[in-house]
């Protein structure tokens, strides 16, 4: 038997009030693709950060090629060939793509002067981008002008630019669509053939099935089991992760399906600095309207325009048949139109504040009493929604930014559900959310739709799109490319529209 590329033995890590990892063990062979799955907060990211030198373990050892290592920081790990792509984007957005690709390991001349070899880096940058499927003109673009999906690809390209021997990807596909994900599989396959080991974290179990050689499952910071390639099935993974079987993953219990009355209508809407093509669509009561499109198709921007973050340049909105004027989110929220944003940490949560603070924030006007805020009512609200959404947190006073990604997402839902939506715009509703929580969220959304809430779900997750939508509209380069429902709603049809083709 060859020495494993990487082993972690009995690794533990504690944070104030939380045991994130408790004696976790993991091995990774050269050229192997190992998927790590687990519920939100199971400790996946923490384990990866320990492997990559971001954290030091409280107990346990990490060995690389049989030799014990203790990286003092990410730079040391990278130098040893262990590269981590973080769950959250970590780019210097004020610099160009090329600058980011080589940040910290620039090609330089002139000794200590470290003069940038810009020509050489530009050429290599173009190669790296080509490997992840990005066009060469991105090389000189500022990262802040790229849509989130492309930023994620830049992160991956950056990792490929190093002498990587162990590539750790923490939910690399959460902001990627099908097409880019396929591209990523190809990259992974090519890495595997040259002997690079890959650690792959994802909540999209179909992906895991597609590309993993082996699956390790974490639960509550402990090893919950391992599945060899032939035993990697959706149900097996779920059973190990959650500890029980799960039925009815994409429920359609409460919904009436298409054909309800129109709740939110967009009539030839254009927004400032947006595409020239007007968009018209309707979201109806009792249905979930899915919206598909490639990265950067303009779905997020359209949703933001309806929510009042972007200014309408033309067209009109109507709610329940009455005109709706939205100048800012204040108006949208007053009308009952809520947005669960794509970028949770930037737009969804005040991460430095507590769970309770965030749950209360849009509901404060209802908690008002004569002497400021009605504290009892507020505490009730916190307790109610933490419990109903099963948010895994020590208390309502816990800082939201310290929760795992999925639990953070639940808090975002909680703050809107507490207010009672009429229209719920979900932009990537389950990004970074584990299977269990996903099922809970789907059930919740189904129930809301059944109660007459219009649900507009923007998603890049094909499984979710097909599983949950009653009707799907597809966007391509800022315009509506077509609508699909019933039997016409297939993966192929969606992809064809999304890439600019005609509906079948």
């Amino acid at each position: 038997m060859t020495t494993p590329r990487l082993t972690a033995t009995a690794v533990s890590k504690r944070f104030p009030g939380v045991v994130a990892l408790d004696g976790v063990t993991l091995t990774l062979a050269p050229g192997e693709v190992l998927a790590v799955v687990g519920e939100n907060g199971a400790g996946k990211s923490t384990l990866m950060k320990i492997l990559a030198g971001v954290y030091q373990p409280d107990e346990g050892t990490v060995e690389l090629d049989g030799r014990p290592v203790r990286f003092a920081g990410p730079a040391e790990a990278t130098a040893a060939g262990v590269v981590l792509i973080h769950q959250e984007l970590n780019l210097a957005e004020n610099l160009t793509v090329a600058d980011n690709l080589f940040l910290g390991r620039e090609e330089t001349t002139g000794g200590w002067l470290r003069v940038l070899g810009r020509r050489g880096m530009a050429a290599r940058a173009a190669e790296l981008l080509a490997r992840v499927g990005l066009p060469a003109d991105r090389v000189t673009r500022l990262v802040e002008t790229l849509p989130p999906g492309e930023k994620q690809l830049v992160e991956i390209a950056r990792a490929l630019g190093t002498a990587v021997r162990v590539l750790i990807m923490d939910e690399p596909t959460s902001s990627l669509t099908q097409k880019e994900t396929e591209r990523l599989y190809a990259v992974i396959d090519s890495l595997r053939t040259v002997g690079v080991s890959v650690l792959y974290i994802s909540h999209r179990l179909a992906e895991v099935k597609r590309c993993a050689d082996r699956v390790t499952v974490l639960r509550d910071g402990k090893n919950a089991g391992e599945l060899p390639k032939e035993r990697v099935t959706h149900d097996n993974m779920v059973r190990l992760m959650v500890g029980r079987d799960m039925k009815q993953f994409y429920p359609k219990v409460h919904r009436t399906g298409t054909g309800g009355r129109s709740v939110l209508a967009l009539d030839a809407v254009r927004y400032r600095n947006g595409p020239d093509t007007p968009v018209s669509l309707e979201v109806r009561a009792g249905e979930i309207l899915g919206m598909a499109g490639l990265v950067g198709a303009g779905r997020t921007e359209l949703a933001e325009a309806v929510f009042g973050v972007r200014h309408l340049a033309a067209g009109a909105l109507a709610l329940d048949g009455r005109p709706l004027a939205v100048k800012s989110p204040v108006d949208a929220i007053a009308a009952g139109v809520f947005l669960v944003p794509e970028d949770r940490r930037l737009h969804g949560l005040v991460t430095a504040e507590s769970v309770g603070f965030n749950l209360s924030l849009p509901n404060l006007d209802r908690l008002r009493s004569r002497f400021g805020l009605h504290r009892r009512a507020e505490a009730d609200l916190h307790a109610t929604w933490i419990e109903r959404l099963r948010v895994k947190t020590p208390s309502a006073a816990q800082t939201v930014g310290l929760l795992s990604g999925g639990n953070q997402q639940k808090v975002v839902y909680g703050k809107w559900l507490a207010r009672g939506p009429r229209v719920l715009i979900l932009d990537e509703p389950t990004r970074g959310v584990d299977v269990g929580a996903k099922a809970e969220i789907y059930a919740l959304v189904d129930e809301l739709a059944g109660r007459g809430v219009a649900v507009w779900m923007i998603t890049s997750d094909m499984e979710e799109l097909l599983g949950m939508s009653d009707r799907v509209v597809v966007m391509h380069e800022g315009r509506l490319a077509g609508e699909l429902a019933g039997a016409a709603l297939t993966e192929e049809a969606v992809m064809r529209l999304a890439t600019g083709g005609q509906a079948g």
Partner: protein
């Protein structure tokens, strides 16, 4: 909570030093009761100044909590003092001049706020320009103002001026300081602001804006309106402090009245636990933070340090306090 321990420790040390100096320097023949009396008189003087500092610190701290900064505070204090003097000297009754000046201060804050929110200018820059502008406005209004000059020009205001002075400063007609009314005022204002910060929706909005303006916006907070409000309150408090300065000080020079107060106010806020990154700070902390510099200056005065030593001593003490504070916070975080 932990944010307060550092500044509390610093204050205890400073007050200890103060009392120690008195006891140590008391003439041998002096009865203890007399020493106590002198200490008390001195503490009242200090409290009086702390009160005025505190008023502007509250404003600065509110701005800082929302992630902004206001460098025009000192100039607004000076300008407000001069404005109050000029108004009363020209026949505006003090009872009317006081709200007028505070209103003018609010107007200044409104202007700052609009420039920052509508035109999206950087607060540092806007209020730095404001610092020049309001200082200039003060100089255009008058060279210097004083109660004496006002009473000379409008003898019939003497009684009303004295009344305001008694209520706001705590000085009797002879100018004797009877009680630190400014500190009482600070406590009242801090209670009001503390109520808003910690017990109402507005406070939540301010913290949210300071931490993450976008998230606040996406949660339906009218970010711009709240920010403007905060600047309005800050400048109105600065204007109020200007009136206090006028009433308390023998004379105000337009070119230097209130100078540096913005730095002291910001310092007070930061010592009291506000982070300049926004989103942090408590009303209690603000009051404690504002108390530091006046005690420190007083300690330096009564110890009769050489003038040349003073800035270094003040700087090093503040630095030591800051470091102490940081260590206490780290401890508490580690133990948590």
């Amino acid at each position: 909570m932990m944010r307060i321990l550092g500044v509390l420790g610093l204050l205890v040390a400073l007050y200890g030093g103060l009392v120690g100096t008195y006891v140590q320097n008391a003439p041998g023949f002096e009865p203890t009761s007399r020493t106590q009396e002198r200490i008390q008189g001195n503490l009242i003087d200090v409290a009086s100044i702390q009160g005025r500092y505190g008023v502007i610190t509250l404003g600065a701290a509110m701005v800082i909590i929302t992630g902004g900064i206001d460098l025009s505070i000192g100039a607004v204090v000076g300008c407000a003092a001069v404005l109050f003097g000029v108004l009363t000297q020209n026949g505006v009754h003090p009872f009317a001049a006081l709200p007028l000046v505070v209103l003018a201060g609010a107007g200044v804050g409104f202007g700052n706020g609009l420039l920052i929110t509508r035109l999206k200018l950087q607060p540092f820059l806007v209020t730095l320009c404001g610092m020049f502008v309001y200082r200039g406005a003060a100089r255009l209004l008058a060279g210097s103002v004083s109660r004496t000059a006002t009473v000379e020009a409008q003898p019939e205001f003497a009684a009303s001026l004295q009344m305001i002075r008694y209520v706001l400063i705590g000085k009797d007609a002879s100018g004797e300081l009877l009680f630190p009314a400014q500190f009482v005022l600070l406590l009242v204002l801090a209670a009001v602001i503390g109520f808003f910060l910690h017990r109402t929706a507005y406070g939540r909005y301010w913290y949210a804006i300071g931490h993450n303006e976008l998230a606040a916006k996406y949660a339906g907070v009218s970010v711009d309106r709240q920010r403007v409000w905060v600047y309005v309150v800050c400048s109105a408090l600065a204007a109020l402090a200007g009136v206090l300065l006028f009433l308390d000080m023998p004379s105000i020079q337009a070119d230097s009245g209130g100078q540096y107060l913005e730095l002291y106010a910001i310092l007070g806020a930061v010592l009291g636990g506000c982070s300049l990154r926004g989103g942090e700070g408590t009303a209690v902390g603000m009051v404690l933070g504002a108390m530091v510099l006046p005690v420190l200056e007083n300690l330096v005065n009564i110890r009769g340090l050489k003038s040349d030593l003073i800035p270094a001593v003040i700087g090093l003490t503040l630095l030591a306090g800051t470091i102490l504070d940081e260590f206490i916070r780290r401890r508490s975080r580690a133990r948590h």
